[in-house]
Amino acid sequence: MDQFNLEIISPEKSFLTKSDTEEVVIPAIEGYMGILKDHIPLISFLKPGIIDVRSKNETLNYYVDDGIVEFKDNTLSILTSNIFDLKEMDKNKVDKIVKDAEKGLKKDNIKDHERYILDQKIEVLNSIKSN
């Protein structure tokens, strides 16, 4: 399969750079989106979810809270402030994030948009837990 570049950048450092990615599935704000080589230029947001990076030899999974994606000239850039390797997410960590999210949901002045994001977050995290 054709390969393209991927870079995941967090404010503190460059999280991951790969040049042999074949397909990346990202949790874009309006639904999951698969990206292959020669996708048209794209800018979008991420909602809480799992990034699935597939290359020839390996598949990497990351959990993200939010972020911005840009695809241009066969380079996919993901800017995110909160990203974890799924392998390193143990139950305690997941529980903690879920609890924070649930606390956020209980606030009175919560907007519909925020509620949607938090609901999504809890759903994704619960699915991680059950796996």
């Binding site: 967090s10 404010p11 460059s14 230029p41 947001f45 911005i68 840009e70 402030s81």
Partner: protein, 292 residues
């Protein structure tokens, strides 16, 4: 003429000061490497963010409907200045350089008859500004407790600024910090973040790629611009911390060298006066013997 005892005490005191400055220099050197690394690692994020925004704003055709964070409120009455300094002293001209730059700007604004609001980040900046501009300082933030610079601290400042902007408390926002060039030179900078300053106004055609937006352009911009503010502040904080350590290292290096010079000078003086005392005693003895 100080007595021998005084001189000896002074030499010991200078020597122990020298030990302190030497230790501080070495600590700063170790921290500098880390801070510099962090500053360099943080650059891709803010650059990429800037790029995306440039691409987006290139596509904004109607300035009327564009987000206010990008184009401004249309007024120029109230200026908000965010002055980023360190929490610790003994770092040469690091804080004073930022303050000097900021004060110049403040004067300019006040001369133009516009009102001024100041947010200080870091206690040293607050200490230096409170006497002259105490009334204008609306917020004083300090991250003394955080060991490392992290994005969440920056986001706190960023959110505060955005909140104030949305309450229409100011029209312009500028941040002041030291840009790290190398160990001996740090350049105080003023960067305007609201409305966003477009450095290369005449964008080349390359920038105007036909992007697919999801959701639509406006929503992305509305979401991205507040994030960009936090990112810019984070970048400034990283640059600042590298500059602080670099500046402290040079300052302490100079102090150590000066202390060394001073010790040499005092030792010569000490030896001379010792010699003089001995000669004096000898003369007394000889002249005493002769008179017999």
């Amino acid at each position: 003429m100080p007595s021998l005892d005084d001189l000896r005490k002074r030499i010991t005191s200078v020597k122990s000061t020298q030990k302190i400055t030497k230790a501080m220099k070495m600590v700063a050197a170790a921290k500098l490497r880390k801070a510099q690394e962090n500053a360099e690692k943080g650059r891709p994020y803010s650059e990429k963010m800037n790029n995306i925004i440039l691409n987006l704003s290139a596509g904004v055709s109607d300035p009327q409907s564009a987000p206010k964070l990008l184009v401004g409120t249309g007024k120029e009455d109230v200026h908000l200045c965010v002055v980023l300094t360190s929490d610790r002293g003994l770092c040469g001209g690091f804080n004073s350089n930022i303050i000097k730059k900021a004060k110049n700007y403040f004067e300019k604004i006040q001369k133009e008859g516009k009102s001024l609001k100041i947010i200080t980040v870091g206690s040293k900046g607050y200490d230096q500004l409170k006497r002259q501009y105490g009334k204008s300082i609306i917020e004083n933030i300090s991250f003394k407790e955080s060991k490392n610079i992290n994005y969440f601290d920056a986001a706190k400042v960023g959110n505060l600024i955005i909140e104030k902007f949305q309450n229409e408390e100011f029209d312009f926002c500028t941040i002041f910090f030291n840009k790290f060039k190398n160990v001996i030179s740090q350049i105080p900078q003023a960067q305007q973040i609201i409305p966003l300053e477009n450095e290369n106004k005449d964008k080349d055609e390359k920038l105007k790629s036909n992007y697919e937006f999801e959701p639509d352009e406006d929503e992305i911009l509305n979401n991205l611009l507040p994030k960009n503010i936090s990112t810019q502040i984070f970048k400034a904080m990283l640059e600042n911390s590298a500059s602080e350590q670099g500046s402290r290292m040079t300052a302490m290096d100079n102090a150590t060298r000066n202390a060394g010079d001073l010790v040499d000078k005092l030792t010569i003086q000490y030896n001379r006066s010792r010699q003089a005392a001995i000669t004096k005693e000898l003369i007394e003895i000889i002249s005493g013997a002769e008179s017999l």
